[in-house]
Symmetry: C2
Amino acid sequence: MTKPPTIKDIARQLNISVSTVSRAIRNASDVNKETKKAVISLVEELNYQPNQLALSLRNKQTHTIGVIVPNLDYVLSMMVRGIDEVALEAGYTVMICQSNESFGREILNTRRLLESLVDGFIISVSAETKNFDHIKKIQEKEIPMVVFDRVTPHLKAPSVRIDNEDGGFQATEHLIEQGYKRIAILAGPKNLDISNKRMDGYLAALKKHGIKVDQNLIMHCDFNQDYAFFATQELLVMKKRPDAIFTISDRMAIGAMLAIKKKGLNMPEDIGLVGFNDEPILSLVSPTISSVEQPSFELGKITAKLFIESMHDNEDMSHVEKILKPKLYIRESSQRLLKK
Amino acid sequence: MTKPPTIKDIARQLNISVSTVSRAIRNASDVNKETKKAVISLVEELNYQPNQLALSLRNKQTHTIGVIVPNLDYVLSMMVRGIDEVALEAGYTVMICQSNESFGREILNTRRLLESLVDGFIISVSAETKNFDHIKKIQEKEIPMVVFDRVTPHLKAPSVRIDNEDGGFQATEHLIEQGYKRIAILAGPKNLDISNKRMDGYLAALKKHGIKVDQNLIMHCDFNQDYAFFATQELLVMKKRPDAIFTISDRMAIGAMLAIKKKGLNMPEDIGLVGFNDEPILSLVSPTISSVEQPSFELGKITAKLFIESMHDNEDMSHVEKILKPKLYIRESSQRLLKK
DNA sequence: AACGGTACCGGTAACGTTGCCGGTTTTCCC
DNA sequence: GGGAAAACCGGCAACGTTACCGGTACCGTT
C-alpha cells in the first residue's frame, strides 16, 4: 500500500524539478554538487528504486532474455545455469519457459515472451517442432535470437551446439574398435537435427570401417526411457540381433540397459552399449555405461555470450555457428577388450 | 526496425480518437458497431498487440511471478513444472531464478525480480540462507508471496510443503521394523527446516520404539553426494558402526551407497539404506534403494494455486499451510525380511 | 418546442522516466 | 565593468495505454 517513492516525490521534497533529480541520479552532469548530495541522500533515505517498467517503456528495452527449452533435464538445466550465469553478470534477467517437448506449448511460450517484450530469445526447440513459423516471426520482428543445443537447418540464426556428428562417430568407432560387428542405433525423432547428426556420425563410422549399413538396426523413437526399452526389446528378438547399441541419449541408454538385462544378456560381453550426454547416473548403474559427454554448462555460457554480442553488434550474425567438441567416456558397458 | 503498430496508428488510419480505439478493443461499450468492426479488422490487418509494458505501467501489475529456487534438480524441476503449468493457465508468466544454494545469489535474485516488478514471489530458500531480511523486505512491501518445499519457521507466509517429519518417521520406522538396531541419519545443514523436520521424524520413530538416540549416529552435511560419501565413511569406521542409514536426500543416499560398497558391505544384509525424494535413479542402481517419495509436480501446482488465491483474496493468508503426505517406497536396500 | 435520455466520441491527465531545449545565474577573462 | 562562457535548473514532450469527464447528435416524450 505504501507506494514506492518516485522521482517526483524526491523532487517535491527537495523543491527542485524532476529533471534535476533525474540528472542527479544518473549523469551527474549539469547538476550542482550540493543538490546532487541532497538528492542522493534522500534517495537512500527513501530507498528509491527507479521504476524499470517506465524505463523499459521509454527505452524500449526490458533487459530480459526469453529462454525456451523443451525440458529441464540434466543437460538442459546445466545449460540454463550457464546461460543464467552470464546473463545475470551482464545485467539481464532470464525468463525460462519449458515447452515440455510440445509444439503447441512452444508457440504459446514464444507468444507470451513476445508479449513480455523480452529483448531477445535463446531457444532450444521441442522434439515435436517441425514448423518454424513462430520462430521466424521473431526474426521478422528483428528481435535478436540465438538457438542452442537443438539447432535446426530450417532456421537461419546464430547457433551454439556440440559437434553431434563427431559424437556419434566417436561412439560408433569405439564400438567397432571393441570388435562389435552388428551395431544398432536408437535414434530420436526424425525431424530432430540433433538426432540426425548423431546418426550421420554413426553412418560415417560404419562407412570408414567398411561395415554395411543394415536398415533393420536403425530404430527411431522418442527421447524416452520407455520407448527405448521397447525398441531395444524389438532389436533383441531379431534373428540376427545386434551385438551393440548406440543410443543418442542417456535416458534411452537406460531403457536399453533394462531391456538387455531383462533378456538376460551381459554387457559388454554379449552386447555393447554407449549413450549420449554423460549423465551422472551412468557411473552408478551396473555395469557402468559409456557415454558421449557434452560440456553443457560451458555451452550455456557461450550461448549467452553470443546472444549478448549479437545484441550489441548490429551486423548480421545469423551465419555464426559455435561448435563444441563432445568427449567419449568409456565405461564397462562397451569395453570388452583390455585397455592397451 | 518496422516498429510495432500502436493504438495511435490505428486511430490515425481510421480518423478516430485513440480513446475510441481503446474502447473498441476492450470494453466494447460506448462504441458504434461499425466503428468497432473497422477497428477490429484493422487490428488484425496490422497484427496489433497491446504493449504490455505500457499496460503494466498503467495498471501497476506485470502478470509475472518470480520464482526463486535453490537449484533445478529432479524434485525442484518437477515442482517448477507444476508451478509453470498452473501459472500459465492463469495468465501469468514465470521468471525462474536459481540461487545455486548461495545466499548472496538469492539476495541478488530477489533484488532483480523486485526490479522487474513481478506481481509476487514463489520461493524455496537456499541451504545457505540463515538470514531472511531480504525476504521480509518483500513482505514489507506487501507483495504476495508463497514459500514452498523449503519452508522455514522464520518466515510468516503461506506455505506448501510435504510432511517432512512424517517422511522421516516412515523411513526410520521401516528400518526398525526390518530389525535394524543402530540407525544413523545423514541430515542436511542445521539451518534447513526441511532437514530438521526429517530428523524429528527419525527421532520420533526411535522414541516410539524405545531406541536410545546415539548422537554419534547423527551427521550433518551438505546436500551433496561427495559430502555424504565422506560422512558415511566416517560412520563405517566407528567401532560400533551403524547397521542402517537414513539419508534425507537421494543424492546423499547415492553417496552413502558408494561408501558402503567401497567398504565391501552388503545391502540390505550388513546395512540398510533409505533415501528421500524417490528420484528415478534409485530403481536403477544395484541394489535398488528405498526412498520417501514426495508428490513434486502436484506440490508445484498447489503452490501456484495458493499463490494465485493469495493474489486475489486480499485477506491475510500468512497462516495458510498446505501439507502433502510423502510415501515410502521400499526397495532392496532396506528389505532384509521377507514381505509378509 | 422544450427537455431528458441514450449512443457515441474526443480530449486530457496520468503511470514514471528521460532527452531536449531554453532560460537564468554565476564565473571568468580581458 | 561588460560580455561570453560555463554551470545549473525547469518545462515540455514523449514512450503506449486507459479512466474519466465532457460534449454533440439524435431520438422520443410531453
